[in-house]
């Protein structure tokens, strides 16, 4: 049993994911109340170089061919042994396609409690999680003996999790990783034939409030009038109303346009992850409590279906005159 905080470093194809730095920054703050060191846990193959800019007291590195790229099965097996032997006070993982694949298994396998969607820690070491699409916050003591915590971005700046000085690295022998039932066949590159929404200065984004596929045209017209492009939140893409190339958010693109006009988007954390850094966010939503109004510079509580055609006309007039 120690007071150390383990941060499971996420990386894909030789690149450390931003959430890893966010977690290191969070761990740094949390360690002030828990005491103990911040250990970055890096799993990979010939991946020592990825540790160079991690802001951690030390790096525990496990090297194995089966850990070259992330798969849930191999990662879980490697982490079970490491956590059992070291009994850290807290283990931080991303609330992501990587962390969420392994944390549940670790919890059941090791009989350890877990906390999801943690955004930040209080000065006295409590977790604060955001749930219900960002509408509800939850605070509580980190359960013991070892709390397995998945973190969302937003609470800490990634820069604070980076360091110019490479931390000390300790190689830990990896366990036997045989008879794996999950393997990576290949990566499929994102489709680049469509408009690259990450390069567009003006984005008209549509969410669930667009109601059906036919109404996408309203947003198209508006985008055209503004010389911008249309993008969408997850529900719109899942309905097949827009292609995945236009998806903004956690599992889609991260965009930083000059203007982000959000039509009928409530602003779930998964979406905010993709557009929170936009210069000017303007939100249109019929729900006055929609979390999107908390990040927007301007907002209006009107129905996008009423507003959009009128706005398009007025913009055309303004341009003509």
């Amino acid at each position: 049993m120690s007071q150390d905080i383990f941060v499971i470093i996420e990386h894909l194809r030789g690149q450390v994911s931003e959430i890893s730095y966010v977690m290191l920054a969070g761990a740094r703050q949390l360690s002030k109340s828990t005491g103990g060191n911040v250990s970055a846990v890096l799993l990979g193959q010939n991946a020592q170089g990825l540790a160079n800019n991690l802001a951690a007291d030390k790096v525990l590195y496990l090297d194995h061919p089966a850990l070259a790229e992330f798969t849930s099965n191999a990662y879980e097996l490697a982490l079970v042994g490491l956590i059992k032997e070291n009994s850290p006070r807290v283990v931080l993982l991303g609330h992501s396609s990587i962390g969420m694949d392994v944390v549940g298994g670790l919890s059941i396998n090791l009989g350890l409690p877990m906390v999801s969607s943690c955004r930040s820690f209080t000065a006295d070491g409590k977790y604060i999680s955001q749930i219900c699409g960002g509408k509800i916050m939850v605070e509580g003591e980190l359960p013991g003996p070892t709390a397995l915590v998945t973190m969302v971005p937003g609470g800490y700046k990634a820069e604070l999790g980076q360091s110019a000085q490479a931390p000390a690295l300790t190689s830990i022998p990896a366990p036997a990783l045989d008879n794996l039932r999950v393997s990576l066949s290949k990566y499929i590159e994102p489709d680049t034939s469509d408009v690259d929404i990450t390069k567009e200065p003006i984005l008209v984004a549509v969410g669930r409030g667009i109601q059906n596929k036919d109404n996408i045209e309203l947003a198209d017209e508006l985008a055209k009038a503004l010389s911008g492009a249309v993008c969408a939140s997850r529900p719109v893409v899942d309905q097949g109303w827009m292609p995945t190339t236009r998806l903004v958010g956690k599992s889609g693109k991260q965009v930083k346009p000059k203007i982000y006009l959000a039509l009928g988007i409530s602003g779930a954390p998964e979406h905010m992850e993709g557009m929170g850094e936009s210069d000017t966010i303007i939100a249109i939503n019929t729900d006055p409590n929609a979390p999107i109004f908390n990040v927007a510079k301007y907002g209006a509580v009107v129905d996008l279906l009423d507003l959009t055609p009128i706005l398009t006309e007025k913009i055309k007039q303004a341009k003509g005159g």
Binding site: S185, I188, A283, V302
Partner: protein, 253 residues
């Protein structure tokens, strides 16, 4: 191929959420529950696989407002077996749910278990991976697309930035569905009513839930707003005029 889909219901976020007097939980008095949308996608993905590969689909839920309607709708869409677990779920967490689902799935012995990758009210992990470990099965989440190849499935797993990985998983396995290959199908109420006459919901009572592995909440609150948007008041026409002025100010017009 036998496919099972355990689902759960979550608060409808369209409705206003209130905190109860204890300050540690949502006020359930006015809470409207709806199916976790990722679970809805999991049901659709199961039906799509059945249509392609043949087999049988079982949908399992705990009792909840709307549970019967959801199960009958699932039957009308093409699922074969409907199971509703009854008991006291008022303080259920996902660790507890995963354990009761695991018990029933041990009896059913499906080849493939599909669940929603997450739910918006998860506070102790998502059901899928907890369930997989209970059953000693592999788990892969964030899946949007599944195909079967003999004793394996190929899953399209999504990472941020639009990157997709093709992952091979040996069956039996649990997958966390992010999105079905086609959006969940619409089903006319008349069809659901037809099914209600013939489809049977099997009820199974479960004992008190084992909630260990979850977490405790000392305070629940609505987020403090650091900086709320400047709200544009007025009717649609007025709001449109104000937006045009803003676009001009920002130099886009």
């Amino acid at each position: 191929m036998k496919i099972a889909v355990p689902v759960k219901f979550v608060p409808d976020l369209v409705e206003e959420l209130n905190i109860d007097p204890s300050g540690t939980a949502l006020d359930t008095a006015w809470l409207r529950l709806i199916i976790n949308e990722f679970d809805d996608h999991a049901v659709e993905q199961a039906i799509l696989l059945k249509e392609k590969e043949g087999g049988q689909v079982t949908v399992i839920t705990i009792e909840s407002e709307g549970a019967d309607d959801f199960l009958f709708a699932a039957a009308a869409k093409g699922t074969d077996q409907l199971i509703k677990l009854t008991g006291d779920f008022s303080h259920a967490n996902n660790h507890g749910l995963a354990r009761v689902y695991a018990d029933i799935l041990k009896e059913l012995q499906p080849d493939l278990i599909l669940t929603g990758v997450q739910a918006h009210n998860d506070l102790d992990g998502s059901v899928g991976p907890l369930l997989a470990e209970q059953l000693g099965l592999p788990y892969v989440g964030y899946v949007a697309g599944v195909s079967v190849m003999g004793d394996k499935v190929i899953a399209r797993k999504e990472y941020s930035g639009g990157l997709v990985a093709e992952i091979e998983i040996k069956l039996p396995a649990v997958l966390g569905i992010q999105a079905s290959e086609q959006p969940p199908r619409y089903i006319a109420y008349s069809k659901i009513r037809q099914v209600m006459g013939t489809a049977k919901i099997e009820e199974k009572t479960v004992a008190a839930l084992d909630l260990s592995g979850g977490t405790t909440v000392s305070r629940m609150f609505q987020p403090e707003v650091a900086q709320r948007a400047t709200m544009l008041e007025g009717g649609t026409d007025e709001v449109a005029d104000k937006l045009v002025s803003i676009f001009k100010e920002l130099g886009t017009l």
